[in-house]
Assembly symmetry: C2
Homo-oligomer: 264 residues x 2
């Protein structure tokens, strides 16, 4: 028995998220089905990040156990033949039998893309959130710094989440403006967040709150207050799923810390 780790990229547009649900198209379901077709044995897939409906990934991570004789690093190419073109396994490798993608220390990096133009741009509509009014990027950059560090992120977690501790560590939040051709009269704004773990909807609420800052409806001080309050109602709305991308997950050397990880 070997444990195999997969790095998986997908276009989340057509899926009801990562996690398997009865009667719904999910990324986990598609990967499990493709592995079973390839290997001819039942497979249980455990994913690192249970991305929501419509959220994309370049590097989500999952593991499964198998008796196969296919060399671990060849599984990626082989399983892609059984997957739809909106899911592609990028890498496959053998890991220690006790490695678990959710219970091992990791750094996750998410990127949220905003297209800030007077009129939506069709080729950017699937992988970014369109915002009409001109955003104050420098104000967003200033406010973004507030999230860095270890905080109780209760105010930035979807109501109803059952997770025990809402303390998480964010290593970095970067707000970057990328120019678009002159005709578009605007730019793209990328918010890149990396941290040890994220609560349910945390990145999207963080972005929704920074968007209020960009629109001039909220100051950096009020973001600080929302964080302190621990009240979901004090933070901004949840930004739409299509702008969010799980860029990648990096694992440290330590295995097996039994730690909760939430859904983003």
């Amino acid at each position: 028995m070997k444990r195999i780790r997969l790095t998986i990229a997908y276009d989340g547009t057509a899926y009801c998220g990562w996690q398997m649900q009865d009667g719904a198209a999910t990324v986990e379901g598609a990967v499990k089905e493709a592995l079973e077709q390839l290997l001819g044995e039942p497979v249980e897939v455990a994913g690192a990040s249970r991305t929501d409906a419509g959220v994309h990934a370049m590097g989500n991570v999952a593991v499964f156990d198998t008796e196969t004789k296919i060399p671990p690093e060849k599984i990626a190419l082989a399983v892609n033949r059984y997957l739809p073109e909106d899911i592609r396994v990028q890498k496959s490798e053998e890991v220690a039998p006790d490695f678990h993608p959710r219970y091992c220390d990791s750094t996750k990096t998410y990127e949220y893309t905003i297209t800030n133009t007077p009129i939506p741009i069709p080729t950017l509509r699937r992988y970014s959130h369109h915002v009409y009014g001109v955003l104050k990027v420098d104000a967003m950059q200033e406010a973004a710094g507030i999230f860095t560090g270890t905080h109780d992120f209760s105010a930035f977690c979807a109501a109803g989440s059952q997770v025990k501790s809402k303390v998480r560590t964010i290593y970095d939040v970067r707000v970057e403006e990328i120019p678009l051709p002159l005709e578009m009269q605007g730019s793209q704004i990328r918010i890149r967040v990396s941290g040890s773990g994220f609560l349910y909807n945390m990145v999207r609420i963080l972005v929704g709150t920074l968007l209020e800052v960009g629109r001039g409806r909220r100051t950096a001080a009020s973001v600080e207050e929302a964080l302190q309050s621990g009240e979901r109602s004090q933070a901004g709305p949840t930004a739409p799923a299509c702008g969010l991308m799980l860029v990648g997950i990096e694992y440290g050397e330590n295995d097996g810390t039994d730690k909760e990880q939430g859904k983003v």
Copy 2:
């Protein structure tokens, strides 16, 4: 009677190109239909670039004549309500009655995007061409310089084209490498070409030829020879449509706009 110029962005995936054809979904057809619904009068649309099936645009240009009393600059927003979400008019403005988007001097800029990774990346598949083997970007950059200037581009024109002169001027060809997250084990390569005009499939043949250079199957000297030969068979294959984007078209001083130098 007023002549209105539109700047139009579209996702070409679902269309058989710009130009109207019986029984086929075309961008021109969709724009004409939306304008007629908005204005309640028959409309003839003349486009600047007749992009091929599957080619995208940020800033194609078209004109039409109208009796409407809607202020010219308001037409963009108004007509978008009648267009599918994969076409969006970015700008509308009145131009001189003799302005024609194809017969006035202009600089067109195209961008071709290649995703150069061992495995395709689902979120990049719609707007770039995937190439497996590692490309030699520096060799492509060197060979790209050959195209700059005024040349007979017969070798870089689809066979059967009826155009009289195949002499065109390319102002600039730039090959740029954009890093991707580490997990993807590769990069994106963007080839940006600007010129006074382009022959049928010219940018895609130029890219197909540079790809042979990147793969090490062709030297810069052989690109020079292909150009000199004037023979289509001496150049590389036509690169796929989905990687190509018409970024924008700039018209010179004599474009007949009533405004200062029209950046279109």
